[in-house]
Symmetry: C2
Subunit: 234 residues, 2 copies
């Protein structure tokens, strides 16, 4: 009884994975806008209507791919975060740059999945609430490292520009009530800028401009870390 259910469940998991794999292949070849349930089904030797047992609509398949992508980059970042924490406990700047490098490495290795989550929105598709949690994973790591440094020794940040004080207070209340508003605002800014660097590289804006991308990115990531108050180990 339970083996039967187990076998069915296993088959379901396998087929679901096969569908997503094939969809990712199409993502790379044609882009998210042209992702087609029929083409996926054809490639898998299924009939299109059969896919509806696994994904109730094309948009739900897209959502699954988006969540997987956020989870993949999040997992890569978390792994780097943990490893850096073990390798040099207390060296928050090293941990910060390790997370940045992991994000970049994942993005360079999976450019089409990266484009799906950090590139132009897919026309006609609007991401449901389910993506919010996975999307936050990298950001949470960055906040965590900055918080650890703040708890260690406090951080020295330049004073907030006048106009930003209310928004910074709002950000802090939403994202990290224990942190000073200036740090919360700096974190959001660094977060956006990290992905700006990665996007420029992945989307080809650095072609014929930046050559030694590793060195360039490493320096930029470290600078971002300093902007949220991280300092090299004394």
């Amino acid at each position: 009884m339970s083996t039967v259910r187990g076998a069915r469940a296993r088959a379901r998991i396998e087929i679901t994975a096969a569908i997503k794999d094939e969809a990712r292949r199409q993502l790379a070849a044609e882009g998210a806008a042209k992702l087609s349930l029929r083409a996926v089904a054809r490639e898998l030797g299924m009939v299109s209507s059969a896919l509806y047992r696994y994904f109730p609509s094309r948009d739900e398949l897209l959502t699954a791919l988006i969540i997987d992508a956020y989870d993949a980059v999040g997992a890569a970042a978390e792994k780097a975060h943990a490893a850096a924490g073990r390798a040099a406990p207390g060296d928050r700047l090293a941990q910060w740059t390790a997370v940045c490098r992991a994000v970049r490495a994942w993005a360079v290795a999976h450019p089409h999945e990266y484009a799906l989550i950090y590139g132009s929105p897919v026309p006609g598709y609007s991401a449901p609430q389910d993506t919010v949690g996975p999307a936050a994973r990298v950001g949470l790591l960055l906040v965590g490292t900055a918080r650890a440094a703040w708890e260690d020794e406090g951080v020295a940040l330049p004073p907030l520009p006048d106009g930003l004080a209310p928004e910074a207070a709002r950000l802090a209340a939403d994202l990290a009530p224990d942190l000073p508003p200036a740090l919360a605002a700096a974190l959001v800014s660094a977060w956006a800028q990290l992905f700006g660097l990665v996007s420029f590289e992945v989307f080809g804006q650095f072609d014929r401009i930046v050559e030694d991308r590793d060195a360039f990115f490493a320096a930029a990531a470290e600078r971002l870390g300093r902007e949220v108050g991280l300092r090299p180990r004394p």
Copy 2:
């Protein structure tokens, strides 16, 4: 004779503009991947083969749209650059932030054209050399402002991290041989981060996170300016 030719030329210009306008409308509705010469023709009451007199292929139409977009954001930035130069000559930080704000304002007003040039690459399309010049316009303004500040009074930048020295020298040689390598590298980094901030806003990554986008962006742009050595007027 010449009036006939003039009229013909005028008609050609008008039709070319109408084609691009309709194509931009489709860009907004369906995305660049689905831009179709046939649909453009249908909407204009033309037959698709007639379009080939104006654009030899879909890719050439895309290229024209891309160049137009780079030129539009470049012109907006140049206008802000010039106005800031007139309003407060010598205040380089104000000029820098004015350019940043102009880029952002254009992007927010034209999100689909922004996505075309700074979003995910269009699958199967590779930009020809013609786009390089227009694409450089904003970057050149940023370099120009930083150069002016450098010539005014020099700039104090943190020393380059070890590994970055060769790449920074290369960047400086390519982009601005008169500037110190550390400044060239900081400029490329600030350039990428500026568009990272804009992309996060335009692509919806700030939804439900950053509320007062004007204040947030203004503060970030000013910080970027300081990173390339700009200081407020004494």
